[in-house]
């Protein structure tokens, strides 16, 4: 569904990604793992047009997307979450989730000002869908709270609800369970499982190995901007290169 071909990204001459190539197959959950600073978030930013690649191609279905601006990529059906939350704290939880349906909310300023009946009707159905999404993540009772006052775990889930409410074709998740406790992590994992079973294609960036190993169909390992391994969770777990990348770091820390 999405194919990366020799994607490289330099920050002022320093390579953050070098020659990364892999596929995200349709209907599968692909996990992207790697030590801190490996370039995982940078890769997501390149896929969503937030950053321009230095070289290489990114193809979504048959469309070359590496030169498109972010909003056009979003409109193709690629949604994402951010590693360091990007909620709108002053909007209510419900409105935050509704922003995930922006593409369907109409574009014309003038039409919106006259609040034509068809828009009102559409607005009602969007609201229902947003409430459903909130319900899935167990947040329906907080729909009218300003998002800024929520606890961290709830904010993370609002962001997930926002990214998934529009039924995007591809969902890019940047560490959706970082900072959550075991119980919350399990709940989010369950949701991701449901989404996967419903046929969504996902890329999951995550440090929580237990989660990755249980729900990923495929795992891609990035280290210092290079793709060092990919395969089934089992294969990757046994790969000596991967062990080295992780253990090497642990030793350095210890």
């Amino acid at each position: 569904m999405l194919r990366l071909e020799n994607v490289s990204k330099n920050f002022g001459g320093l390579p953050a990604l070098s020659d990364v190539s892999f596929d995200i197959p349709q209907g599968k959950l692909t996990a992207l793992i790697g030590p801190n600073g490996a370039g995982k978030s940078t890769l997501i930013n390149c896929m969503t047009g937030v950053l321009q690649t230095t070289s290489g191609r990114i193809r979504f279905r048959d469309i070359q997307i590496e030169t498109l601006p972010p909003h056009q990529i979003a409109r193709l059906g690629i949604a994402r979450t951010f590693q360091n939350l990007k909620l709108f704290p002053r909007l209510t939880v419900l409105d935050n989730v509704l922003t995930g349906l922006t593409c369907e909310g109409g574009k014309s300023l003038v039409m919106a000002m006259f609040r034509l009946p068809y828009l009102r009707h559409r607005e009602r159905s969007l609201k229902l869908r947003a409430l459903e999404a909130l319900d899935r993540f167990g947040l329906a009772d907080k729909a009218n709270w300003p998002a800024g006052v929520l606890a961290y775990g709830d904010k993370k889930r609002v962001e997930l609800a926002r990214a998934t409410v529009g039924k995007p074709e591809l969902i890019l998740l940047d560490e959706p369970v970082a900072g959550l406790n075991a119980e919350e992590t399990a709940a989010v994992g369950e949701q991701l499982n449901l989404l996967r079973r419903a046929g969504h294609t996902m890329l999951l960036v995550e440090h929580d190995m237990e989660l990755v190993m249980t729900i990923a169909d495929r795992v891609v390992v990035l280290d210092s901007g290079r793709c060092i391994a990919m395969g089934s969770p089992e294969e990757v777990r046994r790969n000596p290169l991967v062990l080295e990348a992780y253990l090497g770091r642990t030793e350095a820390v210890a």
Binding site: A74, F88, T99, F114, L119
Partner: protein
């Protein structure tokens, strides 16, 4: 649900519609409360300011940009209508629309190149426009009447019904102000409005949700310029006289202050900000002399303590408290 809860829920659900209805009724009855032309003149001026401030508030509060030269669009509307009706004999209503269209083009010409840049270049560009326009109004006296102003602008009329005294103007101007208020409320409560709110909150996140951030900023800028132009046209026909100093940069900064007092992105706040700042000099003579100091002082204080603006800031405080209290109650 108890009966009381039901009533409260009904009020909450229809709060916008109810407030609009109440406000419209109050405004409709206002001339019955006071028939003093001076007072009506003042409230009429508030109505004009409301129209400008609504647009500017959308731009500052939703596009996250500042225009320091909105009096230029206000002035273009006023002088445009004056020249079109007096020199070219165009019907005032038609002139108003034509001028608004031209002002939209001016805003596009400024907005398209400037708003594609990150940063606050638009503040500079609009400030520049305001300076240039003010100078032209002063210097080009064959057309604009120069420093002494432009006289003899016709009143607006529907058939034989002319809007020439404060009483009639009250209904005309507040009609416009309420209509603008309603349209802006519709906008911010729509899907498009949510996209704009997202843009104001975080540009990267908004773009990732499919908001064309650059276009959205340009559209809101043009909308705000059009509203200012319409208010300017109304101004010209209200006083039947315009002079350059009604459209200098101090007027622009006053408009920004009204936005800040009302609160960024708050439609209702626009109303309050416009009313408060228009009335201040009337309430205290001292303000008349030190007006610019007082306005500047208010601006600094509000931005220091409530960066979202006065009304929005207070509203946010209350809302956060309530939500937290409810959270604690639920946990207990």
């Amino acid at each position: 649900m108890t009966a009381k809860q039901k009533i409260l829920y009904f009020l909450y659900l229809h709060r916008t519609g109810l407030t609009v209805t109440l406000l419209s009724t109050a405004i409709f009855c206002w001339p019955l409360v006071t028939s003093n032309p001076y007072t009506l003149g003042l409230t009429n001026l508030i109505a004009l300011h409301v129209v400008v401030v609504l647009g500017l508030n959308l731009f500052i509060g939703y596009a996250g940009q500042i225009s320091l030269g909105h009096a230029a669009f206000y002035g273009l509307g006023a002088y445009g209508s004056a020249i079109a009706t007096v020199n070219f004999g165009i019907n005032p209503w038609l002139a108003m629309l034509l001028v608004a269209f031209l002002v939209a083009l001016v805003a596009l010409v400024i907005g398209i190149p400037v708003l594609r840049l990150a940063g606050h270049y638009l503040a500079m560009a609009t400030l520049g426009l305001n300076f240039v326009l003010h100078t032209i109004l002063l210097q080009w006296d064959e057309v604009t009447g120069g420093p002494s102003g432009f006289y003899g602008i016709p009143y607006l009329a529907i058939g034989d019904f002319e809007f020439y005294d404060e009483f009639r103007l009250h209904y005309l101007l507040w009609g416009f102000a309420l209509l603008s208020l309603l349209l802006c409320l519709n906008l911010v409560r729509s899907g498009v409005g949510r996209g704009l709110a997202a843009l104001a909150g975080d540009e990267t996140a908004a773009a990732a949700l499919g908001v064309n951030t650059r276009n959205a900023k340009i559209k809101v800028f043009v909308l705000s310029a059009v509203l200012a132009s319409l208010a300017g046209s109304l101004f010209a026909h209200t006083y039947s006289f315009v002079s350059p100093d009604s459209f200098n940069i101090f007027v622009s900064t006053d408009m920004v202050i009204m936005v800040v007092i009302g609160g960024m992105g708050s439609i209702w706040g626009s109303l309050l900000g416009a009313a408060l700042i228009t009335m201040l000099p009337e309430w205290m003579d001292l303000f008349e002399t030190y007006k610019d100091f007082v306005h500047g002082g208010i601006l600094v204080l509000v931005l220091m303590f409530l960066p979202q603006g006065l009304v929005t800031g207070l509203f946010d405080l209350v809302r956060t408290r309530l939500a937290l209290r409810r959270g604690q109650d639920a946990a207990a």
